[in-house]
Subunit: 217 residues, 2 copies
């Protein structure tokens, strides 16, 4: 039986870009690198941030802005690392926007910070549509989500400077082909870097750390 396709357009873009630009100017003034980290719920954003803090906290002054719809579970975890954390609750909203991040930045002592990691709301769709003023955009796609996701949710893959394929420790238990996935991502976004990692075991994270060190320079 043939498939009929109905295309329905929806305007989701706001007038968000001007504030995003101001955010980036503020970061540049303070020589801070701002990174926007996006993924579906449970793909490993908080775990990546924890690993990154553990690796760099003696060398680089890190702050975190935690975007969540509800709860402070992730911010509580990160605050145990004794670094500044701002929790932003979107009260139902499915993504951070530039103004939310501006509010977060206004509550940080910027002169004492080198790197701000923004953990966006867990969602493979909306966050990619709203610029925050970040210098770099990082996304995670975890193995259990499936290797067909670049075709079904293309925007975030198109915008990412780095794609981390997370949870490679469970590759034996899922039908996920890293080559197929990487080719699909490169087709959408030839310049993106793709790093297979496990934020649980630490496997592959050296490539991410090395990329981040270069980005901070």
């Amino acid at each position: 039986m043939s498939v009929r396709v109905l295309t329905i357009k929806e305007d989701l873009l706001g007038a968000n870009d001007e504030i995003a630009k101001t955010n980036q100017e503020l970061m540049d003034k303070h020589q801070i690198l701002l990174i926007n980290i996006m993924s579906s719920p449970g793909a490993g954003k908080t775990s990546l941030i924890m690993q990154t803090i553990n690796r760099f906290k003696e060398k680089i002054r890190i702050a975190v802005i935690e975007g969540d719809i509800a709860s402070t579970i992730d911010a509580d975890k990160i605050s145990e690392q004794d670094i500044p954390v701002i929790q932003i609750n979107t009260a139902g909203g499915c993504h951070l926007d530039a103004n939310m991040v501006k509010n977060g930045l206004d509550n940080l002592a910027l002169e004492q910070i080198d790197l701000v990691l923004v953990e966006n709301v867990g969602n493979l769709v909306c966050p990619a549509e709203f610029a925050l003023g970040a210098h770099k955009t990082v996304m995670l796609l975890s193995v259990p989500e499936g290797d067909d996701k670049p075709y079904k949710y293309p925007l975030m893959f198109t915008e990412a400077d780095v794609v981390l394929v997370n949870k490679i420790d469970v590759l034996p238990y899922f039908d996920f082909n890293v080559d197929t996935f990487s080719k699909a991502v490169s087709g959408l976004n030839p310049s993106t870097r793709i790093f297979p990692v496990s934020t649980k075991t630490g496997e592959g994270l050296e490539a991410w750390f090395s990329w981040l060190e270069d980005a901070i320079k």
Copy 2:
């Protein structure tokens, strides 16, 4: 270090309810059960629909409305089962709305259908905010996503008539406690039914099939 909480409200609700009501009236007129299936990307919606079609297609006349941001991958899979499939591409939109479903229903031969399964866009946030006119709301949360998700993404759990805990075949490889998860869901939504399943191996699906048979009656 203490966590500061900034709460930023955002109005995401549209004037969608009137069309949803009309959709449900249309379904009632034709004695069709309309089910809205929601989850994050890759949690197993299509796989659940395929298993459900395989089980019931000799007894019940099923149609599927496939919501996707892009591609017809899922609709193509389902159309191989020789049942009517309508693909709705939201062109970037992060959820289906009642009007999109109305357009889908207008393209189905309703007098020849008993059950319409709507596969919403993969997203744990936005789809729960838009009524489609469904009689029942079903969500999947897969084991790799983590057992803390009811606290972080409460709305969908609050609205679901059924919560399927999918991918229980990989429970040994993840820190996921089904009891902890079920208590959290029941706390948000005491009347919801929770079925641990694997849409890959078929484990646990009898409870879902039995619930669906009762709902169709």
